[in-house]
């Protein structure tokens, strides 16, 4: 083996194959690894290193640094140009405060890099929020669609949404797609992304049927995130889906065929009209949404979602739904004055025997009420034999001290034998009321001898450990 042979091989595909075979050979025959032997290779070890090591290092450098390696030596002239990950973020272009100049500079830079690039591009990412929509992006997508792209992230500025060209849908090797501030529609001929594992749309303008069709035509989809893509009535059919994150204004939400779902987070904003319209519907949203997700491990319900979920919940006592893997629940806000919302929260908690952490925020726009209305609810609908045998941590915020909230706390304290910490943050500022609330809470029996209540009044937490009870 001599130097010239190695340099000849270097820039060809044969290099990789020969090298891996040589390594196999050396492993099988316990030959001393040739990489280290000084008399076989020149002292400059790195330039003749397996391309995978160089590639691994180059893709971890900001793109400008990778580019500058072209000037190291003649062997390095083109090494950068075959890196398979191209990431353009704030570090990629010198900082410039003139928006126009920055835009031009970024566009030119990216176009040049792509033009000089050779070989496949597996990952392409633009997370440069100053980059506004422009015609060049069309060309970049076309270029990438011919380069076996697998991981594509396009997070653009929001002056004008970029209209995605249809060539995106020919990228059959896509495993991850992350778009922000774009507009798209599925071509009729689109049959799906067979390898797509993760999909994220943030402010993407697209007809709802397109989203549903997209999801159901990606058989391997495991993660789906939809943020601020508004006014959608969405039905999700995704047999492999494990992680679902939804945020925005939705007209209607329905989970059909998501049996493997493990994490679910919904922040739903309901306009007033929508709320009225939906109230008239007779569907039980709790069943519609949570009826077939038995493997759920984590559930977050924010903004109006608890309200949405409680629509149509006339009587949940006969439901056979159990969430045996559900360990973490967060619901914020919950209006404890609304019977259906109380029922929803109670039903969810009592169907989760392995719950470990619970976080609930009260509704901040109800004034403290001393009304005893409807307190029978707790006698009638609160299962007395309920045990949350794994619940260790409870965080209750924005507690306005309404009796229903107090009853809820009483219920929690009474059914959690391993509870360690309960944090209570009241929303009422009146110290008298706070004290009254505190005194009430102190009276409640606790199933857990270890339970400590942290009652946080502004900056002075009052920590009530079991030993401070009289």
């Amino acid at each position: 083996m001599d130097k010239s042979w190695i340099s000849k091989l270097q820039n060809t595909n044969d290099f990789k194959i020969s090298l891996s075979r040589m390594l196999d050979f050396s492993v099988k025959n316990s030959v001393v690894g040739f990489i280290k032997t000084g008399d076989v290779l020149c002292p400059d070890l790195i330039s003749d290193l397996p391309e995978c090591i160089i590639e691994s290092i180059l893709i971890k450098l900001p793109i400008r640094d990778a580019l500058r390696t072209s000037i190291l030596s003649s062997k390095w002239k083109h090494k950068w140009s075959s890196i398979t990950h191209l990431v353009f973020d704030e570090k990629s272009v010198p900082i410039c405060y003139d928006q126009q100049a920055l835009q031009e500079s970024v566009v030119k830079f990216i176009s040049r890099v792509l033009f000089l690039h050779q070989g496949p591009v597996h990952k392409f990412e633009i997370t440069h929020f100053f980059l506004q929509s422009c015609p060049e992006i069309d060309q970049w997508i076309l270029f990438l669609s011919r380069k076996d792209i697998q991981d594509l992230t396009l997070e653009l500025g929001n002056d004008e949404y970029f209209r995605m060209p249809s060539c995106l849908f020919t990228c059959q090797k896509l495993t991850r797609l992350n778009l922000s501030c774009c507009e798209l529609d599925l071509p009729h001929s689109f049959k799906g992304f067979p390898c797509l594992n993760s999909l994220s749309f943030n402010r993407v303008f697209t007809p709802p049927e397109a989203i549903e069709r997209l999801i159901s035509s990606c058989p391997r989809l495991e993660k789906f995130s939809l943020i601020w893509c508004d006014s959608l009535a969405l039905t999700i059919r995704a047999p492999q889906l494990k992680y679902l994150f939804l945020k925005g204004e939705f007209k209607d939400l329905c989970l059909v065929d998501t049996p493997l779902l493990v994490e679910l987070s919904v922040s739903m904003y309901m306009t007033h009209d929508l709320a009225e319209h939906v109230k008239l519907s007779s569907n039980c949203n709790f069943v519609k949404f949570l009826g077939s997700v038995p493997n759920l491990e984590r559930f977050d319900s924010f903004m109006d979602f608890t309200k949405y979920l409680s629509i149509g919940n006339h009587d949940l006592r006969h439901l056979a739904i159990m969430f045996n893997n559900l360990e973490r629940i967060q619901m914020a806000p919950v209006n404890f004055l609304d019977m259906k919302e109380r029922r929803t929260v109670l039903r969810l908690i009592t169907s989760s025997p392995n719950l470990k952490k619970l976080g609930i925020s009260g509704s901040s726009d109800i004034a403290a009420s001393t009304s005893t209305e409807d307190l029978d609810f707790w006698k009638n609908e609160c299962p007395s034999d309920s045990v949350l045998s794994k619940l260790k941590f409870v965080d209750l915020e924005d507690m306005s001290g309404v009796l229903h909230e107090i009853e809820f706390i009483k219920f929690l304290l009474g059914c959690s034998p391993v509870l360690e910490t309960m944090i209570i943050i009241p929303s009422i500022l009146d110290k008298e009321c706070q004290l009254k609330m505190l005194i009430e809470l102190m009276k409640f029996p606790r199933a857990s001898s270890k339970a400590g209540i942290n009652f946080i009044r502004s900056n002075y937490p009052i920590i009530l450990s079991p030993s401070s009870i009289d």
Binding site: L23, S26, V27, K28, S30, V31, V32, G33, I35, K36, P43, D44, L45, I46, S47, L49, P50, C52, I53, S56, I57, L58, K60, L61, P62, R64, D65, L67, R68, T69, S70, I71, L72, S73, S74, K75, W76, K77, P94, K108, F109, R112
Partner: protein, 161 residues
């Protein structure tokens, strides 16, 4: 005598030291795993060339930290550039994915924003451009060299030598 049902695998480094490691750790070394799987009989001792005992010490440290969920605490800061390169080659030979990623990231971090001269020295790369070639490439890719945050080229005048 180590049998295949034992939980410890013996690895012999280039400097002759024998390390007895858990099977789970040996599994993270794909090269070693391949040897074990291909062997018909029980393997007594596996020689790992290109790997020295100080490399194995660090590998074991990393393994212990990652099992405890503290892999982020693993640091190669105390290694100088040559030692880091050597370690990287050893880990590459053993084909250990996670540690390889950690080390290539460490190398990348040391190179980020450095001047071309520094990178040449670090890797031991000889500049074989003629001054004209150098100037031509530099000019062509000038757009990549702009920026206050990058170290200036100290050795550009030296190109004339």
């Amino acid at each position: 005598m180590a049998s295949s049902s034992s939980n410890l695998i013996s690895l012999k480094t280039s400097d002759g030291t024998v390390f007895k490691v858990e099977r789970a750790l040996a599994k993270t070394m794909k090269t070693v795993q391949a040897i074990i799987e291909e062997a018909d009989a029980n393997i007594y001792m596996i020689p790992i060339h290109n790997v020295f005992s100080h490399h194995m010490d660090m590998i074991i440290d990393y393994y212990k930290l990652s099992v405890a969920g503290k892999s982020k605490e693993f640091s190669v800061e105390k290694l100088d550039n040559d030692e880091l390169k050597d370690f990287l080659l050893a880990v590459h030979y053993l084909n250990m994915e996670d540690l390889f990623e950690v080390l290539t990231q460490a190398v990348a971090d040391r190179l980020e924003k450095k001047s071309v001269g520094y990178v040449r020295k670090y890797f031991g790369i000889e500049n074989d451009f003629t001054p004209e070639e150098y100037a031509a490439i530099r000019k062509k890719n000038d757009w990549a060299f702009k920026g206050d945050d990058i170290e200036p080229e100290e050795d550009e005048e030296k190109q004339e030598e």
